[in-house]
């Protein structure tokens, strides 16, 4: 008997541990088993098959399974390939189920991401983005007036946001909205040059603002002849 070959010996020891005594008693020749198992160091399953064939009565299924699995683990333990193999054997046909489900999930997720990514730069939101570039609400909610402006701008061609002058001024002075960068944006806004993402900004002079300016000029300068003549010229 070759002493150096330890794996079959261990297998035999396990064989004994898992109620192997009873099996050995039932075996016709234990020597054959030893020899056979020593020959087949890698294929323990074939050894067990032979054992089973040579024996008087076949060992019961749990006995066989226990012997097999413990033999595998004891023979080559510690290597990761072996561990995966072991896992594969233990799970049997169910091994691919979690793998397939993970793949399917990844597929669905990527499809969902693609759709979501297409929605963000849709053309309908360009005026809103543009408005956010120039103005910002001081609280988290936009005043409904500006949402209506954006809604109107979505369906205008070219896209333009028309800001009423006095309304804008009142909202800024009451602290509802504020200009993000007045020193950059205001000169363009005054000259009707301000354009953000192909969305134009224009100031609308309401009739009320014209009336207010006219009233102020009249009240402050009515006694002077110069102002009167100027107003007459402008009205004619």
């Amino acid at each position: 008997m070759d002493r150096k070959c330890s794996a079959p010996e261990k297998m035999f020891a396990n064989f004994q541990r898992f109620g192997g005594d009873g099996i050995i008693d039932r075996l016709s020749c234990a020597g054959d088993l030893r020899r056979d198992s020593m020959n087949a160091t890698s294929g323990t399953a074939s050894a067990m098959l032979r054992l089973w064939l040579n024996s008087i009565g076949p060992p019961s299924a749990p006995e066989l399974y226990g012997v097999l699995s413990s033999a595998i683990t004891k023979a080559v333990s510690g290597h990761w390939v072996v561990r995966i193999r072991e896992c594969y054997h233990q799970l049997g046909g169910y091994f691919f189920l979690p793998v397939f489900s993970l793949l399917l999930l990844a597929l669905f997720w990527s499809l969902f991401r693609c759709n979501g990514g297409q929605k963000v730069p849709s053309k309908a939101d360009i005026p809103f983005q543009a408005l956010l570039t120039v103005l910002t609400p001081t609280c988290s909610i936009w005043p409904p007036f500006y949402l209506a402006l954006v809604h109107r701008a979505r369906y205008s061609k070219p896209k333009s946001i028309i800001l009423p002058l006095f309304k804008l001024m009142d909202d800024i002075c009451s602290g509802q909205i504020e200009l993000r960068d007045p020193q950059t944006d205001l000169p363009g806004l005054l000259r009707d040059h301000l354009c953000v993402d192909a969305c134009f900004f224009r100031l609308e002079i309401e009739a009320a603002s014209r009336v207010a300016v006219l009233r102020w000029l009249l009240l402050s300068d009515l006694p002077t002849l110069k102002a009167c003549s100027l107003l007459l010229i402008s009205s004619s």
Binding site: C173, L190, D221
Partner: protein, 226 residues
């Protein structure tokens, strides 16, 4: 220099109290601005207080605080009260060349000169309000007035300082926003709405100058010698 004030119905003591914290500025050669910020307790509502009252003969006379109807009387009195060979500097805003009466830019230009909404009348007396003079006056009109009359002035230089003035206004607006002490003092004194309005209109005026709708002029004149 005090004599010409008599024609304008503003009590000079009031003006003194308002302009105690004014910025006295002089434009030196090369159109570079040198400003000395006079520290005081009172905050001045306008960026430039009316420097009509000053013992300093080098002071800049800002015409934006004058009523347009008073302009002729003011200049005539100034011509009369100046000493021979004394020079005087005027600073004023006029409309840009693209602005016509009651078109859209005119309304935009009128906005910073309209009476403020968010301030009590007591805190904003008429003397510290800017008038509609910038909308009415033109450079030609002013030069015509100054170089005529019984003792006409000689125009020494006319300078367009729109860009420099816009920069000053920008820095004022930034100071209103970032300088915490200044901001708090204004909000305590006049209220948050006033602070927002003042900041917005300062930005607005600076943008009008940048856009070319308003022009800021500095005119230096001298009285003839005997």
């Amino acid at each position: 220099m005090h004599d010409f004030l008599s024609c304008i119905s503003i009590p000079s003591t009031e003006l003194y109290s308002i302009s105690s914290h004014r910025k006295t500025g002089t434009y030196v050669a090369g159109s570079k601005l040198v400003f000395q910020n006079v520290e005081g307790s009172q905050f001045n509502i306008s960026c430039f207080a009316p420097p009509l009252v000053s013992t300093d003969c080098e002071a800049v006379l800002c015409l934006d605080f004058l009523r347009h109807g008073h302009l002729k009387t003011f200049i005539r009195n100034l011509q009369f009260s100046l000493l021979p060979c004394a020079s005087v500097t005027f600073e004023f805003t006029t409309l840009g060349p693209s602005v016509a009466y009651f078109n859209t830019p005119f309304i935009l230009c009128a906005l910073p000169y309209l009476p403020r909404k968010h301030i009590r009348l007591r805190d904003h007396p008429s003397s510290s309000r800017r008038t509609s003079n910038p909308l009415m006056m033109s450079l030609n009109h002013f030069i015509g007035l100054a170089t005529t009359g019984p003792s006409p002035l000689i125009i020494e230089s006319v300078q367009n300082v729109s860009i420099e003035y816009a920069e000053i206004l920008n820095s004022v607006a930034l100071g209103l926003q970032d300088n915490r002490q200044r901001r708090n003092s204004i909000i305590d004194q006049f209220g948050r709405e006033f602070w927002l309005e003042h900041r917005f209109l300062t930005d607005w005026e600076s943008s009008l100058l940048t856009a070319g709708y308003l022009t800021r002029w500095v005119v230096t004149a001298r009285k003839r010698g005997l």
